[in-house]
């Protein structure tokens, strides 16, 4: 019970962190059809910006300024890069962001060095919020939950309840019509890309000091975010939200449940040891392969429900 409850909390926090990162990507992906490989790199940029800003003026201004900076970077990428590449189709866009990811990673290494930087949780949040069965729940984790929940609501309201949201949604399916009605469609796309990048930046500000801010953080966070977006389904913020939580819980509980396929087979009366056929594979405990489960789920959902959990259209 104790472990179960603490693990639920752990899974929730990790899932929400994933959501923060994935929401920007799903926004860009579903609005523009661009699978943005550089998304995790912008997340890293956000963390490094926040580190530099927080050194001078503190964490709270950084919480606002770093995402704004990342948004500006995103806007520049869209206006001077993607827009030109867009004419050559989606594959060109994908390859463009792929190359961009490497360039940003290298630039970060050159600007901030190869070692981790001392980007720390602000002192006011660096304490236990409450204690559950002797395990502290860190105040910063509560803050992360709060920010990601706010983020979800804000994006949701923006897309469904504002004029801008409606224009964005319309520009997706009928760009010519929206243009004919007098809206500046390219600017809509720039706004979306900048917005998505700002969200990645925000995730970087929050995640950078919760985890460790170092040059490989983009590289290690990138793949799992793609899994979340594809699993959740294209064009669905709710799907992305649910997929993030699922991934968070799956990875958390995979660590806690020390079972293997052999244990499952034992339930139906089949005894497996390391010496029997496929014994090596069957006796691998779940925690050892837990981190791979999201990828297994990715493959399965593409096979059986290609649109993802709540996707509204094909990839």
């Amino acid at each position: 019970m104790e472990v179960l409850l603490v693990s639920l909390l752990n899974g929730l926090v990790y899932g929400m962190l994933l959501f923060m990162l994935a929401s920007g990507l799903t926004l860009i992906f579903s609005m523009m059809g661009v699978l943005n490989f550089a998304h995790a790199s912008v997340y890293m940029l956000g963390a490094y910006f926040a580190y530099d800003i927080s050194r001078h003026v503190g964490f709270w201004p950084a919480l606002v300024l770093a995402p704004v900076l990342c948004g500006a970077v995103g806007a520049l990428i869209e206006m001077y890069g993607l827009r030109r590449v867009h004419r050559n189709g989606h594959i060109a866009e994908l390859l463009f962001t792929f190359g961009l990811a490497f360039i940003i990673d290298k630039a970060v290494q050159m600007a901030w060095g190869l070692l981790p930087v001392a980007y720390r949780v602000p002192a006011v949040l660096d304490r236990p919020l409450f204690t559950i069965y002797g395990t502290n729940f860190h105040a910063y984790r509560g803050f992360m939950l709060l920010i990601s929940a706010l983020m979800f609501c804000a994006i949701w309201l923006m897309l469904t309840r504002t004029r801008l949201g409606l224009v964005i949604q319309a520009a997706l399916t009928h760009p010519e019509m929206v243009g004919a009605l007098g809206h500046n469609v390219p600017r809509v796309f720039t706004t979306v890309f900048a917005g998505g990048s700002a969200l990645a930046g925000l995730a970087g500000v929050i995640g950078g000091n919760y985890l460790v801010t170092e040059p490989s953080m983009a590289f290690t966070m990138g793949p799992i975010v793609f899994v979340v977006v594809v699993f959740g389904g294209l064009g669905s913020l709710a799907g992305c939200f649910i997929a993030s939580l699922i991934m968070g819980f799956v990875q958390t509980f995979a660590v806690v449940f020390d079972v293997s396929l052999a244990n499952v087979l034992a339930l139906v009366g089949i005894k497996v040891t390391e010496a029997s056929w496929f014994g090596e594979v069957l006796t691998i405990p779940l925690p050892r392969i837990g981190a791979l489960l999201p990828y297994v789920m990715l493959v399965l959902i593409l096979l059986f429900k290609p649109r993802g959990l709540m996707g509204t259209r094909d990839t």
Partner: protein, 415 residues
Amino acid sequence: MFNRLTWSAVAFALTLSLTSGVDLARAQGTIKIAYTDPLSGPFAQVGDQNLQQFKYIIDWINARGGALGRKFELVAFDNKSQPSDALLALKSATDQNMPIIMQCSGSNIAAALIEAVDKHNERNPDNRIVYINCGAVATELTNEKCSYWHFRMDAHVGMKAETMVRALPKDVTKVYLLNQDYLFGQSVQRDVKAFLAKLRPDVKVVGDELIPLGKVKDFSPYTTKIKASGAQAVLTGNWGPDMTLLIKAGMDSGLDVRYYTMYAHLGGGATAIGPGGNGKVRSIMAFHENIAVETGKTDTEGWTKQFRSTHNFDFYAAGFRTIFEFIQAAMNKAKSSDPAKFAQALEGLTITDMLGHQVTMRKDDHQILSEYFVGVFTKGVKYDSEGTGLGWKTEVTVPAKDLDQPNTCKMKRPA
């Protein structure tokens, strides 16, 4: 036509000057040492820090006369953590007649190098090369895979595991093992368990876990498990984010355990762990800056202090200085930079390292024997790490003779 003629003349002249330059260098120029490690890619920081420390050491040893009246020169090759690129580096090194190749990171690369160096030396008796291993620690490299041309200048996993077990205080009776799921992590797991059974039968292993290398972002579930197991100490060979994230998650949740690590003292570790790690994190190491203070070695203290003033991370590679002192001593003893001659001189050689301890290159398997330390990351030390206000303090010193583990090497010596 004229153009082509001129160009070939220029090219010819260039080749001539280049080759004569090489000949000159071989006769009386620098002693070139090839160094290959990842200098780009996700593990670039390892190679980069090693390189900076090597440069500092080489400047120092050259100022003290180098070897045979010649200066050392380090030539770096990026191997991107790939064995194939390391072999290309070896090829360039032998093409340029370099007597030594060094490599520190990755036992899989080390295994490939040992094999390639063996083959090369057998086929080219007039152009041999010695492989100095400065940190690939898989135990088998000086056991089953041992080679006459390979000298390991770092304690291997078995020795580090023994140091870790010897450092466990009497009141710790429940430990949790957590390692990365690949060759190195698995051998740490195996060796720590073996030494626990041998030296501390009273200690119970309450958890034994392998995690996928570099894949886990959130370690709080592991923290929950460790807490539930009632462990007093976590023993881990993890490095990089797999280590720092584990410790950070534990600190956030208020987990009260001691962490015994192998690599927390390397560059970036102190920054990533931060002040919250006070008194909780221990590392198995060959050196830290405060040892010189604790043992009153003022010359060594001054030496690391100078490094500190020009670099943004701690000097941790005392072993690298020992390497160059070994090379210097062996070449001077053999009166030659010919690998066939100084390799023989290096076998069984004993020198005094920068902390004043006797260090031996064991003859039967070419494994270095030196003392090892367990330091705790704490406040109130003279030299802190990376501006965190905390630094390393020696808790346990294991003398070299205690780490003189048996080996299974059957060395083939050249006739």
